[in-house]
């Protein structure tokens, strides 16, 4: 049996009723947007896709939390949402800079920014473990690394669940950064598109004049939505996760539905802010 074929940890099951209710809510939010601001429906879909990418990507990030800080568990010694936010926001920084090149280039630039932060961070984590503490990387969840085939158990020190970042966790961290950075940037770009459309009418100004406000609003909402999706995924993970080989990874479908609903609602609110004001001024 492959390492990825292990039995899933508890909590991976999907509750059909909750899922259906969630999906219905998402459709309702999209419907409200269609009625109030038909031009914002496509951006809202983009926002939802961005949120889902973030929620999915967080599951790849190897997060060890407090046990990792004592070398008691593999992963990076910080919180799930925090690490994902760090990577995703660094990606958003790069993506926002590349917004002039269009949504595809900007989103991929953002993804690369998040992936780069995670690659550097994962490397420095292993450098500290290996050269600062003399501890090799070892997974506690699989017998062999699914990518390199390295055996893990004998490199696990006594009384611990493993330590450091085995190669699969390293790669998982980079993938998580890619998804997070891309998702955050996509949300930002889509919101910026909406604000560029609606804000000039509200302020009775040109697009150039409202750009500082539009960029600030889109940036703040993108960061906020990033945190919402990262925290939702963190609740789904409950504590620590080693990466894509961890049995907890199989819980991601639930997080995708949750991110979809949450992003639809947050996106609706972010769009209504300009749409409702527009209606009041008419």
């Amino acid at each position: 049996m492959s390492a990825l074929g292990g039995a899933p940890a508890g909590g991976a099951a999907m509750d059909p009723i909750s899922m259906v209710i969630g999906l219905v809510l998402a459709v309702v939010f999209i419907g409200i947007t269609f009625v109030l601001a038909p031009l914002a429906v496509i951006p809202l879909i983009g926002i939802i896709v961005g949120g889902v990418l973030i929620g999915f990507g967080v599951h790849f990030v190897p997060v060890g939390g407090a046990p990792a800080a004592m070398g008691q568990a593999p992963g990076i010694a910080t919180g799930v949402a925090m690490l994902a936010a760090g990577a995703g926001l660094a990606g958003l920084f790069g993506g926002a800079w590349a917004a002039e090149f269009g949504v595809v280039v900007a989103t991929i630039t953002g993804a690369i920014g998040g992936g780069l932060l995670m690659a550097i961070t994962c490397l420095m984590v292993n450098v500290i473990y290996v050269f600062g503490m003399g501890i090799p990387a070892a997974s506690g969840k699989v017998e062999k690394d699914p990518i390199t085939g390295d055996t893990q158990a004998e490199y696990k020190s006594q009384g611990t669940e493993g330590h450091g970042l085995p190669f699969i966790s390293f790669v998982g961290g980079v993938l998580g950064g890619l998804f997070g950075g891309g998702g955050g940037t996509l949300i930002y770009i889509e919101l910026l598109t909406v604000y560029e459309q609606y804000l000039p009418s509200i302020f009775n100004a040109t697009v150039e004049q409202i750009m500082p406000v539009a960029i600030s609003l889109a940036g703040m909402f993108a960061i906020g939505m990033f945190l919402v999706n990262a925290v939702l995924a963190a609740y789904n993970i409950t504590g620590t996760i080693e990466g894509p080989h961890d049995p907890k990874f199989k819980r991601f479908p639930r997080a995708i539905v949750a991110s979809l609903v949450a992003s639809a609602l947050c996106g609706l609110v972010a769009i209504l802010i300009v749409v409702v004001n527009l209606n009041l001024t008419i």
Binding site: A66, A69, M70, L89, L117, C122, I135, E154, G159
Partner: protein, 300 residues
């Protein structure tokens, strides 16, 4: 064109250097103040019967904490800049006020968290507050000032579209993420559990039994800051410095190539290089340190 690139590279180098200082100061501050995941052991120790004189201020995880302080510093600096105050003075004033907020959080964090351990006999040491607060605040000032200076350079010199407070939030959170990821194991395992075997993780059964005595007298958080500033701090500085430098470097030099794809390819190449170095480090450890037990024993 060439002048612009040279100017951009100069700013990138300066931002990278500032980021290295920020990372080192952030990690040392979080170790002296005992913030982040290793502080779980500082909180746990009295509950296991180990009374100590370590500072205890896990106000929040390092990323949101630094997100707050850097946003505050950058936001205030932004206000001062609008008032036509000299940029350096504005940044210093912003960082100073943010540092005082950090000091308030640190004081209430220490008092609140330590008081909650009263039932386990853990005293609140006033002399610990007096001697450690100023040091943690000083390191926080360095971390916040350098980070918001980077943000100012990105905004004013390199023309990033985000306003200064938003950049403060983005890079404050990234600073906390880099500093806690890199520096926490060195403070948590290597310093707090210096009494455990070198080259191995801390057995779960030893949780809470942190080192409480120094060469002379009881250990305090200044001793921990001295220790972690030797490796954990500089490593965090290298981590954050590389993140800031390479993110700017790939954008400044390559973004104009192939309609933005140049920066993407450069970033992808950098990621692959870091993954390869990471694999080399992993193999190096496996070859040179060897397994703890024979493979057949481990599977039994």
């Amino acid at each position: 064109m060439v002048e612009n690139i040279v100017f951009g590279i100069g700013i990138t180098a300066l931002a990278g250097a500032l980021a290295a200082v920020a990372g080192a100061a952030e990690d040392t501050e979080s170790d002296i103040g005992s913030q982040g995941d290793p502080n779980s052991q500082v909180q746990l120790a009295p509950q296991m019967g180990f009374i100590h004189r370590i500072f205890n201020k896990a106000i929040a995880g390092e990323p949101p904490a630094y997100g707050l302080w850097c946003t505050l510093g950058a936001g205030l600096a932004w206000v001062f800049l609008i008032q036509d105050i000299n940029p350096i003075l504005a940044l210093v004033l912003g960082a100073t006020i943010a540092t005082f907020v950090q000091g308030v959080y640190a004081t209430s964090g220490y008092l609140g968290r330590t008081a909650s351990l009263a039932k386990f006999g853990q005293p609140v040491y006033i002399d610990i507050i007096k001697s450690m607060l100023s040091v943690t605040m000083a390191h926080a000032f360095v971390a916040v000032f350098t980070t918001i200076s980077i943000c100012y350079l990105m905004n004013a010199a390199l023309g990033h579209p985000f306003p200064l407070p938003l950049l403060g939030l983005v890079w404050g959170i990234a600073l906390g993420a880099a500093g806690s990821a890199t520096g926490n194991p060195f403070y948590g395992k290597e310093r707090q559990y210096q009494n455990q075997q070198f080259g191995a993780g801390v057995p779960i059964s030893a949780s809470g039994n942190i080192v409480r005595y120094a060469e002379a007298g009881q250990r305090n958080s200044l001793d921990n800051g001295w220790f972690s500033s030797k490796l954990g701090g500089p490593a965090s500085g290298i981590c954050f410095g590389l993140i800031v430098f390479l993110e700017l470097w790939r954008t400044i030099l390559f973004e104009e190539f192939a309609g933005g794809w140049g920066a993407i390819i450069a970033g992808l190449v950098l990621i692959l290089i870091f993954i390869m170095i990471g694999r080399w480090v992993e193999v190096y450890a496996r070859k040179n340190y060897g397994p703890y037990t024979a493979p057949e024993e481990a599977s039994s």
